[in-house]
Structures are given as C-alpha cells and as structure tokens.
Assembly symmetry: C2
Homo-oligomer: 247 residues x 2
C-alpha cells in the first residue's frame, strides 16, 4: 500500500475537519492535508476527540503542491448526473475498486475531498488521475464530508475482521462423528440416518462454529450420554465428564 | 433483502442522531428507531439536513418491542479486547459479512447502535442474534455513532457503482486489430510485433476502456493514418475521417 494523504480542499466548517480527522485515525490513517481551510478552533478540536494530533500536525499546502508530490491523485465526486460520457468525470471507481487500484502502488497517493457546498471544481477534477465516487441513493446523494472520508478510509484500510478461532476441519469431523454415535445411542431410525446427518451438517456447517462452540456441543452430548447411562438412583457414583478430549 | 431498521439505543447527543439520519438517507435507508433518546432540537434538525423527515417519522419504542418484532437483531460493538472466547460478544461479523448473512432474509432486521459513551450493555448484546463489529485501528477504535451508521448503511446498501458503458469485447478486438494494422503502417519490426501487441493488450486491458475512450483511440489512429497517407502539400483534398465505424 502507498502512503495515503487525505486532502480536504477548502473545507468550510471546522467541525467537519475535526470529525474527518477522528474517523481517519479510527482506520489508521494519519496524513491530513488542508488546502486553504476555514479557521480551526475549539469545535474542530472537540470533534477530533482523540485525533487532535492529526489536526495539529495537518499539513497546509497548496493544491499545486499536492499534485506535484503525488504519484497518483484521486478526486472524489458525488454521484453523477446524466452526462455520463463526459470524460472529465468518467470513468469513476467505487471505493472498493479504488483500493484494488492503489494497493500495488509504492509512493504517495493523495485523495481529494471537495468543499461542503460544491465539491471539487472542474479544473481540480480534470487534473486528477482517477475519479472515485461513493455510490449513494438518488434521493439524497450528498454525503457529509466526514462520512465520505470515513467510508473511503474504511474501504482503503480493509482491516482484517480480527481473529477468532473457528473449529478446524478435524474438530468438526469429530463433532459429526460424535453426533452420529449419539444418534445410535438414542435409537434414531437407521433409514433416516443419512438425511438427518446431512441436515445437521448443513445446519452446523453454515454457522461456522468457533472452537469453543464445538467443544461446548461435545460437552453437552457427553453429559447427555452420561445421564442416559446412569438412570435415576445411579447418579452418585460418578460426575458427568466435562473434558475437552477431541473424539 | 429484509426491511432494515436502524435502532439508536439511548443516544446522548442530538447532533449524532441528525447526522445518522442524514447518512441513512444517503444510502437509501428510511427506518430510524429511537429507544429513549435525548431531546431532539434544532441541532438534530440542522445535522439531518435533507433527511429531516427521517427524524420526524422516527419511531420511539422500547428495546423490548424491537426484539419482539424483529426476525433478526444485530448488535454492533466496538473492536473487542482480549477475552475473545467470551460467547457473549463472539463470534462477530464484519459489515460486509453481515450483508451476506441478512441478504436472503425476508422480514425485519434491526441493527442496534449503542450509547456514545459506552455502547450496548451486556444484557442488550446477550439478547441479539448476531454481533457485528467494524474493524478499526487498535490505536483509536472508538468510531462516532454516525460514522458507524454510515459504514454499515454503505455496506448493506451495496449500491451499484452506477452504469457506464465499457467497451465490449468486440470493440476491444477491433481496436487491437486497428493497432496491429497501424503498426504495419509505421513499419514496426515484425520480430517485435507479438511482444508489443501483448504489451498494448495488457496496458489497454487493465484500463477497462469505456466505449467512448475506445472510439477516441480509433479516431486518433485514423487521423494519424490519414496524415501518413497525405504528406505535406496534399492536405487540401480531403479532411481526416472522424467516423465511428467499428473496424
């Protein structure tokens, strides 16, 4: 991934600048560039919350300098009107497509966000290498600038969901085997067996069990088996097994 | 897709409610549900901008009613700490995964967003069917509620990028053919031909030309050919062709 600069071109409201800084940091982006911004005061600081340092370290340079130093410059634009053959604003890419385009770039990519009232002007769009448009509802396509920055940063970060341990193939096979022997134990009719096992496999398969969930289902089966083997009055001689031995 | 209700649980700041309404409408969502919200005044209305009617038509019901009437209830939570085996907040899905899960559902899906200061409490999370977490940077994982609503709505809407006309396979093949004859015309060395055509195919292939762009490249080649055929002094007898005939 390249260095990504988020460039706000002549933002009009300090609250939006603060909010944009915050959501950038939420997704791990740090380089905020401000081109001729409004005055930033207490509201910008309040809205930036724990991303105040992004505001304070924001570069203030001209758009000329942005274009000069960037390997690739992206113009973000609102959803287009009818003149879709106008090459100035065509073709455009979605944020997800943009990620794939810039991923292999080793250099600086600058992403321009326009003014709250009328976006980027034609000359600014013309000079950009690539156009990116967030797909929106026709009924109300004007996205607040901080929301637009948030969605672009969310897509470009493509942060992993975070790790959690799904049950392995072996653990799932052990579980299916256990269920099969359990069906024997409760005298499930042999002629229905294949269909029922398939149904269970479909059901548990699509839930993507975590290792812990698989282990808990094992445990519940074992505990049930113990009670089947130890009918009323026979309970005192052994506690139900709760080990986690696979199979 | 099901009906999707965006449920803000005890939101504390009216500005966030207004902003959430706005970004919902940006992505075509209309059902705003408020559980014991703060007072909504001028700031909420101002922030909602052209989504004021969502604020005004927002349902105010109890969380109990939300759970009762929903086919599926989703709890959104911040990025987790260490106790990743806690089944209360595990397993969790990303917004993109959530979309795939709810897509086939025909009914009402409610998505809960918690309070700005401490999210959803354990009891609220416990009762939800599915957990959804927006992946964030460890350094600053606390996403403003309106940004969270925006990202979820953006993902669930999965709006098409919008249509623009890419050159068809036939148009691209015509263009490659034209380029090949052009290379003949400028006496490009035959032994280099295959490699050069491949390079051009790779280059134009990855740019995904629009129909208009392909047509313009054709036109430029034709115009160049005309000038090659009409050296200096011979210009007056014909204007360069600018037709769009394929091949």
């Amino acid at each position: 991934m390249p260095e990504v600069d988020i460039v706000l071109v002549e933002p009009l409201y300090e609250g939006n600048v603060g909010f944009a800084a915050r959501v950038m940091k939420n997704f791990g982006f740090k380089n905020l560039v401000l081109v001729n911004p409004c005055r930033l005061g207490d509201e910008a600081i309040a809205r930036s919350s724990h991303a105040r340092e992004l505001l304070e370290s924001a570069e203030r340079i001209t758009l000329e300098e942005v274009f000069e130093r960037s390997s690739l410059t992206i113009a973000t634009t609102g959803t287009l009107g009818k003149s879709v053959t106008n090459p100035m604003r065509m073709p455009y890419y979605s944020p997800a497509e943009l990620r794939k385009i810039i991923e292999p770039i080793d250099g600086r990519v600058s992403i321009l966000f326009g003014r709250e009232n009328w976006g980027l002007n034609n000359e600014e769009v013309r000079r950009a290498d690539i156009i990116c448009t967030i797909p929106t509802s026709d009924e109300y396509p004007i996205v607040n600038i901080s929301h637009a920055v948030g969605i672009i940063c969310y897509e470009l970060a493509a942060l992993p969901r975070g790790e959690y341990l799904l049950a392995t193939r072996l653990e799932m096979d052990c579980l299916y085997h256990h269920i099969s022997t359990f069906l024997d134990r409760i005298e499930h009719p042999p002629e229905k067996r294949a269909t029922t096992l398939l149904l269970i496999r479909r059901l548990l398969g699509r839930t993507l069990l975590t290792a812990r969930e698989a282990s808990t289902v094992h445990g519940l089966l074992r505990r049930t088996e113990w009670h089947l083997d130890h009918p009323e009055g026979d309970k005192s001689d052994q506690v139900p097994p709760d080990s986690n031995d696979p199979c």
